[in-house]
């Protein structure tokens, strides 16, 4: 094998127990030479490739159950299929891509890194997000970005009811329609810096066929940051 060439590890989950796969992935460190992993027959298992902390690439061939890529750090994980609830929950860094659709709570509480969903995401996408960037090429369901603290949620399609309810400092960009905004979430002006920010996000997510001018920005009105009895009707 030549210098610089890396090994490809294939793990077939119809043979190898999930626990062994995750433990093997946890043994990879920054200097590991098994940089490329392919996971076959995921069969909708839960918790595939969770808690990885190494700059490795993992391709999962098929659909996954709950919490795939949970708490990911550094790794680039691609699900060639659809993902169940809580994909990339609490992700710290790295990149997770779903070529199909994602179920509820995609990217929940994520702290960093990039989550790209080529299809649609169901309800509560980006719930309680804390720094993650999420790009959804399709639509997102209701109550997305609920209590979202920081990071970006970019939606090329439409958003469902109560977008950004009780949102803190996260920034939301939606290209299509928004069925309704949640408490304390308002449309905000797209200033030049927002076009820049959004442009970079689209670029890293590999989206080249849309313009930033097609998006609207939403964020917090910051009216509910301190409890005030006169706001009680808003809750």
């Amino acid at each position: 094998m030549n210098d610089g060439e890396t090994l490809m590890r294939k793990v077939d989950l119809s043979v190898t127990p999930l626990r062994d796969l995750n433990q093997d992935l946890h043994r990879q460190s920054s200097g590991a030479n098994e940089k490329n992993w392919e996971v076959l027959n995921p069969m909708g298992f839960h918790a595939i490739a969770v808690g990885v902390d190494a700059p490795i690439e993992i391709d999962i061939r098929g659909s996954v159950g709950y919490y795939c890529a949970g708490m990911n750090k550094q790794a680039t994980i691609t699900v060639h299929g659809s993902a169940g609830p809580g994909v990339a929950e609490n992700m710290m860094s790295g990149k997770v891509r779903i070529t199909g659709d994602a179920s509820q709570y995609a990217g929940a509480t994520g702290r960093g890194g990039l989550l790209v969903i080529d299809g649609n995401a169901a309800s509560r996408c980006g719930v309680s997000m804390k720094g993650i960037d999420i790009v959804v090429k399709g639509n997102i369901g209701h109550m997305s970005a609920f209590m979202a603290q920081s990071g970006h949620l970019v939606v090329l399609g439409d958003a469902g009811d109560a977008l950004g309810d009780s949102i803190y400092e996260a920034k939301l960009f939606v290209r299509g329609s928004v069925k309704s905004l949640g408490a304390d979430c308002i449309e905000k002006e797209m200033r030049p810096e927002h076009h820049d920010e959004l442009g970079k996000l689209l670029e890293t997510a590999g989206v080249s066929d849309v313009k930033t001018s097609e998006f609207k920005r939403y964020g917090s009105a910051r009216k509910l940051y301190s409890f005030n009895i006169d706001n009680a009707d808003a809750y």
Binding site: L18, R19, N22, Q23, H26, H46, A47, V50, G51, D53, G65, Y66, Y67, G70, M71, K73, P85, G86, E89, N90, M92, Q104, Y105, A108, T109, R111, R124, V127, S128, K130, G131, F146, M147, Q149, S150, S166, Y168, E169, Y225, S226, F227, I229
Partner: protein
């Protein structure tokens, strides 16, 4: 000529008592509900309503200071590769950094470590002070996920998935702006100085079937090494304990309504949830029905103050207990030595509960650097360790008197109740009778 009615003694209403009236005036004046720390202050049936029988002709006692009476407990034997070993069955409950100062968290870690027991993080994440000083640290996995990250998850000795808390079952957390210092704001990833609400529900699971998958994920992330606890507020203890077992918990933490909180609505603290005494037997029953008693360990909390309370909780079937308010009291909370300070805050030692305001004169429930510096973590840790050791000695004293060489051999048959209510809740006979009210009715 004037006619005088015979004078009657001014009479206050038992219903509209001074407290109820002051609360009406307070609400009318401020337009907001009362928020405070601590647990339920009203009297509810509690461990004081139970008595131990001690040895007699049919049972012989063990000699104090001579015959062995073991206090150690192992938690997390069901699935975890590395169960927790504690020297005493009294743990320190989860209390958040943010609600508590860094010095207080450090003191709790120090005290617990000296006494050979565990301490627990809280809403707000793990601090290096706490990890550094805690031999055994339980890391809470809360709905807010403030500060949650895989590195701290791996640094923990056990992980506690918090579903609820006795002071506010069904409620989320509250940390008001005054206490959001730069450090607290950064750990929670929120702007400084705003009122923070912690979610009441987990963001990425609902219901027992999801919980099972969530626990599986946490086990996968931590390579099945660490015990997973599930903490529930006392509401439906039979079903919640059964569902926690089904979801794969190694340990159940069950917190009754007297359990403390850092800040919640008074109406919540006083009116939602079951007394600790009413929670234990149904939970133990669930474990027994599933053949899991002592296999999934049960930690009980909410109003534990002394060794007698611990012994009674164990006799009713708990494996260990947890303390919150009592641990803070051991550090100096509400000490009359600070009466002048408490008076200045409009309260008195023993009644101070505005922990959310961050003005604690003892330096425990504050983020103010000056106030916090009043709490020496080394001295505080020493005091907590003393207190924990006294409680363990008290449990041993009672266990020996009842003839047991391990505190886990304490059993309901060692107990009687002083009131009909406590007899029904604890399912032990009313003192001097063989009557256990409510038996045979079934249901929870």
């Amino acid at each position: 000529m004037t006619y005088h009615n015979p004078p009657t003694t001014p009479r206050k209403s038992a219903t509209f008592d001074d407290y109820a009236l002051s609360e009406i005036r307070r609400a009318a004046h401020t337009g907001i509900y009362d928020i405070r720390g601590g647990g339920a202050k009203r009297r509810v049936p509690h461990f004081d309503d139970l008595l131990f029988l001690g040895a007699s002709i049919s049972r012989y006692p063990l000699e104090g200071y001579r015959e062995k009476c073991t206090t150690s407990v192992t938690l997390g034997t069901r699935f975890a590769k590395k169960p927790i070993e504690l020297k005493i069955p009294i743990t320190i409950a989860g209390m958040s950094f943010g609600a508590l100062s860094a010095n207080a968290k450090e003191a709790l870690g120090r005290g617990a470590s000296i006494a050979g027991t565990s301490t627990t993080t809280g809403d707000g994440g793990m601090t290096p002070e706490e990890r550094g000083q805690s031999k055994t640290l339980v890391y809470q996995y809360l709905p807010s996920r403030y500060g949650m990250n895989p590195d701290d998850l791996r640094k923990a000795d056990a992980i506690e998935v918090v579903v609820g808390q006795g002071a506010k079952p069904g409620g989320g957390g509250m940390l008001l702006g005054q206490k959001i210092s730069d450090r607290v704001a950064e750990m929670r990833n929120l702007p400084k100085g705003i009122d923070q609400r912690s979610a009441c529900r987990h963001p990425d699971w609902t219901g027992p079937d999801d919980l099972e998958i969530k626990i599986q994920e946490i086990r996968e992330i931590t390579d099945w090494e660490k015990p997973i606890y599930v903490k529930i507020g006392g509401t439906r203890p039979y079903y919640d304990a059964a569902l926690a077992v089904k979801a794969g918990a190694d340990v159940i933490v069950l917190d009754g309504m007297q359990g403390g909180t850092a800040a919640t609505q008074e109406v919540f603290i006083e009116h939602v949830g079951l007394p600790t005494l009413a929670c234990i037997r149904p939970a133990v029953q669930a474990l027994q029905d599933l053949g899991m008693h002592r296999k999934v360990q049960l930690i009980v909390s909410g109003g534990i103050r002394n060794g007698a309370d611990v012994a009674k909780a164990l006799a009713l079937g708990a494996d260990a207990v947890a303390i919150g308010i009592a641990a803070l009291a051991a550090l100096g909370d509400n000490d009359p030595a600070h009466e002048a300070d408490y008076q200045a805050l409009g309260t008195t030692a023993g009644a101070y509960d505005d922990w959310h305001e961050g003005k604690d004169p003892v330096g425990i429930t504050t983020q103010d650097p000056e106030l916090m510096s009043r709490l020496d973590p080394v001295r505080g840790g020493r005091r907590l360790a003393n207190y924990l050791k006294v409680m363990a000695l008290e449990v041993q004293t009672i266990a020996r008197a009842c003839g047991h060489n391990h505190i886990h051999n304490l059993e309901p048959e060692d107990l009687v109740a002083l009131t009909v209510e406590s007899a029904a809740m604890a399912r032990v006979p009313l003192a001097g009778t063989s009557w256990i009210p409510g038996q045979g009715q079934g249901g929870f």
